[in-house]
């Protein structure tokens, strides 16, 4: 029996811009098993957030399928989609701008419950809100507080409580810890991992921070300019990265140990190019140290090099 909760097949999302087609997500295929986490890493502009938003249909896709429990959600009607939305949730990056400043904590958490008309009596709803607050570690005295009274970590906990309110199966975390300080970031990561264990959640975890993604993911997908360049179980990816871009990403992280200083780090030259009307060939070729002639002409294919380890590279 297949244990796949969600399967993305050849998903494409192009945006029309005055300059041409912007290939935000270009032919990405992934699947996530129930209770597992897929980490998506890449630099700004690589299409990782667009991927997340297209999977839950906040963007209409240009091409491709997303199978949730075996059904293609792009065939769903508006009504079906609304039902589905309760089992797929998203946690946003910025806890400062994703909460309505004029609502209290309890109202913010109640919103999904109200709009889906879950509870008839006020009592039941209040009990549910309180238990949710406890789950995410918000103390009860904050029940009537407003977001501006809280720090970033607590605000992000509200975001998590909101996402959990509908008992979802699948949560997309779009950079949930990037706006937080390290000590708070670690608390939130631990919380997300505990919740996953307790509630059997499945995560798509989007981040630019490789060290964060290593902690929380079972599998990692590396994206560059809208395309998947490498996908592997987390251990395999860190021990044995193959694609030059993945290697460069790993080499670029400043490590908190001494003795690394002054060594020329394994970085890459140049900067990310525009994904508008990309030329054929490997999109990384211009920044790649190992680029051959073939790389500029032919699109590399995403192939399996060892078990569950996929790479799109000519070398």
């Amino acid at each position: 029996m297949s244990n796949k909760l969600i399967e993305v097949k050849n998903l494409k999302k192009y945006f029309n811009t005055p300059m041409g087609n912007l290939h935000a997500v270009d032919d990405v295929s992934v699947s996530i098993d129930r209770g597992k986490t897929l980490g998506v890493v890449g630099e700004s502009g690589c299409g990782k957030s667009t991927l997340g938003k297209t999977i839950i249909r906040l963007h209409e896709p240009t091409e491709g399928e997303v199978l949730f429990k075996g059904e293609n959600i792009f065939d769903y009607s508006k009504k079906d989609m609304k039902k589905l939305r309760s089992s797929i949730q998203i946690i946003f990056q910025d806890p400062y701008s994703s909460l309505n400043p004029r609502m209290t904590v309890s109202r913010l958490i109640a919103e999904p419950l109200i709009s889906n008309k879950i509870y008839k009596s006020k009592r039941e709803m209040e009990d549910r809100i309180k238990s949710l607050m406890e789950t995410v570690g918000l103390s009860g005295r904050l029940y009537n507080a407003y977001p501006h009274e809280l720090d970033g970590g607590r605000r992000q906990r509200i975001g998590i409580a909101r996402a959990l309110a509908m008992n979802p199966d699948f949560i997309i975390c779009d950079e949930p810890v990037s706006a937080l300080d390290v000590s708070i970031q670690a608390q939130i990561l631990n919380l997300l991992m505990d919740l996953q264990e307790e509630l059997e959640l499945t995560y798509l975890f989007i981040t630019h921070d490789l060290s964060v993604v290593k902690h929380i993911s079972d599998e990692i997908l590396v994206m560059y300019l809208g395309q998947s360049v490498e996908k592997a179980p987390y251990k395999e990816l860190f021990d044995n990265p193959i694609h030059p871009y993945t290697k460069a990403l790993l080499g670029s992280i400043p490590k908190p140990i001494l003795g690394e200083r002054g060594k020329i780090r394994n970085t890459i030259k140049g900067e990310i190019f525009t994904p508008i009307n990309p030329a054929s060939g490997c999109r990384f070729a211009k920044r790649c140290d190992y680029a051959k002639e073939k790389c500029y002409v032919e699109d590399p294919v995403f192939i399996e090099v060892s078990e569950n380890h996929f790479v799109a590279c000519h070398i």
Binding site: S183, A186, I257, I272
Partner: protein
């Protein structure tokens, strides 16, 4: 022999508004020697940026008050200088790189104009000489000089930060203050910029204060490290003391425990419990005691003194 360039003694800065008084920096001491780099690490609200702005005297003057202390730079107390004299030092002997390259450049001036501005102010250069120097510093930071007539919006984030660094280096400063210079950049670009800062710093023998929340960045670029928490320096020493020393302040330990480690295969992190205290309502005694796993009775009552182990200072009752 190490020569002292900057000495901060007993600096205390508050922000006073109608509603509250925020104790941003509380009686800190800092030393910086010529040619060395110092990393100031801490979380949001620890007082890192306030310390930097006090040195360069750019604190918002309506709300910020320096209550006590002195900042000795090249044997003169910067806090006693008139604004006119300070202006001669700022951008010339002491310059600053800001966090956000998108908003710290003037969008309506060309890159050349913005670099030339500091030169016109501080150097007695003719037009030709200024142009030559602009080209030189651009080359220094790795921007082809035919881009000097472009505007900031034509540059990417990493390139803008390079322009910021070029402006800071234009007058050959003695002290460079970099306030989170790479926080807004992607990792690969961050690595490029850090490599460049490290290389330039050792080549030009400029002293540097690097402010960051990222211990990794500090390990790559700094000789000395000071860890700040709630307006105090809780631990300071050489990079070796901080990264490899045996004794640590519990907060430093917590910071290290919070970083996801790439080399060790461990799933759970060991974060610090609780959150930073409100700077307007700091706890009594040791500022860290509500979050500290080793909290004792004395920590609640008394603020600890700093204890030195061969230049490695720790401010904690555990070591007194």
């Amino acid at each position: 022999m190490r020569e002292k360039l900057l000495e901060i003694r007993d600096l205390k800065v508050i922000y006073k508004t109608d509603e509250e008084t925020v104790e941003a920096v509380n009686n800190i001491d800092l030393d910086l020697y010529k040619g060395e780099s110092l990393g100031i690490v801490g979380e949001t609200g620890a007082g890192k940026t306030t310390t930097a702005l006090s040195i360069i005297r750019l604190l918002p003057y309506r709300v910020a008050k320096i209550l006590s202390g002195e900042i000795i730079f090249n044997e003169q107390n910067l806090l006693e200088l008139s604004e006119k004299d300070m202006r001669k030092i700022r951008g010339n002997n002491i310059s600053m790189i800001f966090q956000d390259p998108m908003s710290s450049l003037n969008p309506v001036l060309t890159v050349e104009d913005q670099i030339a501005e500091v030169l016109r102010l501080h150097m007695d250069y003719g037009k030709e000489m200024i142009k030559k120097r602009v080209k030189e510093v651009l080359q220094l930071v790795g921007i082809p000089h035919d881009r000097m007539f472009e505007y900031p919006h034509q540059f990417s984030g990493g390139m803008k930060q390079r322009v910021g660094i070029a402006i800071a280096l234009a007058c050959d400063p003695d002290l460079l203050i970099a306030d989170e210079p790479t926080t807004a950049l992607d990792v690969t670009i961050q690595a490029q910029v850090l490599n460049m800062i490290d290389e330039l710093q050792s080549r030009l023998k400029t002293s540097m204060i690097l402010i960051t929340h990222d211990l990794g960045v500090v390990a790559q670029t700094c000789d000395n490290v000071a860890i700040m928490y709630a307006g105090e320096i809780v631990e300071s020493g050489t990079a070796k003391d901080i990264f490899e020393g045996e004794r640590h302040h519990p907060y430093t330990e917590g910071l290290f425990g919070s970083i996801p480690n790439l080399d060790i295969d461990e799933k759970r992190l060991n974060p610090i419990q609780g959150v930073m205290p409100e700077p307007s309502m700091l706890p009594s005694g040791c500022r860290f005691h509500p979050r500290c796993p080793h909290c004792m009775d004395i920590c609640i009552a008394e603020s600890p003194q700093s204890k030195s182990f061969d230049g490695h200072h720790i401010k904690c009752h555990l070591f007194l």
